[in-house]
Subunit: 202 residues, 2 copies
Amino acid sequence: MNDKRMLIILSGPSGCGKGTMLAEVVKRTACQVSVSATTRQPRGGEIDGVNYHFFTREHFEQCIAEDAMFEYAPYCDNYYGTLRSELEAIWAQGKHVVLEIEVQGALKVMAEHPEAITIFTMPPTIAELRRRLEKRGTEEPEVIEKRIARAIEEIPFADRYQYIVWNDKLEDAVDDFCAIVQAEENRTKYSKERIGALITSC
Amino acid sequence: MNDKRMLIILSGPSGCGKGTMLAEVVKRTACQVSVSATTRQPRGGEIDGVNYHFFTREHFEQCIAEDAMFEYAPYCDNYYGTLRSELEAIWAQGKHVVLEIEVQGALKVMAEHPEAITIFTMPPTIAELRRRLEKRGTEEPEVIEKRIARAIEEIPFADRYQYIVWNDKLEDAVDDFCAIVQAEENRTKYSKERIGALITSC
């Protein structure tokens, strides 16, 4: 069988439960979430190499200059991006890369990588999204309103993605995500070698 | 949410376990296998309307003339085909149609229905396919050889299908088929209405 090295792009409003969903997905599938690099300062409890690769601005710009970044974008005076070496390391383990990335970055990656599997995760309703953001209790009301406004901007781009996973119930959303991974593993392109071997064995 | 009325085309060599697989798939998903119409005589135990719709040649040709057949083909001096009304009845129940159909018929349906989900099921090896056909004990050796020869002719067309399900182990094959159905139900086109409602609710 051919080596399956999938690139899965996941976007969706903040508060949709992407992190919780992915924590389950990696247990049940051959997916691994790529760790982004950023120039922003670590927040309390964040670990270098786990939550982010924390880079200085100079180091990040050197990575850009050396074409070491698979994708990157400036955001709120900082850079965020993904190292090519990060993806290669995941693929070398025979796993699929999940790139959790916001819409504008995702559209750029899609244009360059039409083979990517693209999933947009959706809150049941905007009211429920607000409720979930408030429940976290970590954000100020104005930050929550900013995130809601951002969600409303992002949602119309969902139709540029191949799949929509509605996060009405976490278990169902995880199950849908895993089914998408399993279905994509059954794509004909991954069977070409084995079919060839079957035919020549006749 | 939009009405999901999928058309799933399943092909694969005789002896691959398509029937056994589908019997499980219909229990676990919203799939229903369409019953073909044929002009051939019923064999022992076959029930009209369950295994096939048994038609006279005159009635079948009338259905063709009235454009009542979704697809049909002559095979070994008999007609085989699918009534449009059969598919409509399945869709009316909110279920997906599974059309189990041989390769040439499938290619014709694919050309006319590019929205169809297409799955080819594959035996682990040709030796195993022979073993399974022999184990059935219902076929003469020359019939088995004819089926093997037919399989070898059909397998190269597998790359015209979107998905390959290897039937190494029945449970895994059923699981793969169900995952494909579930993933396809998450296609963005089926969420357009719900996304529209989410946006207008803001």
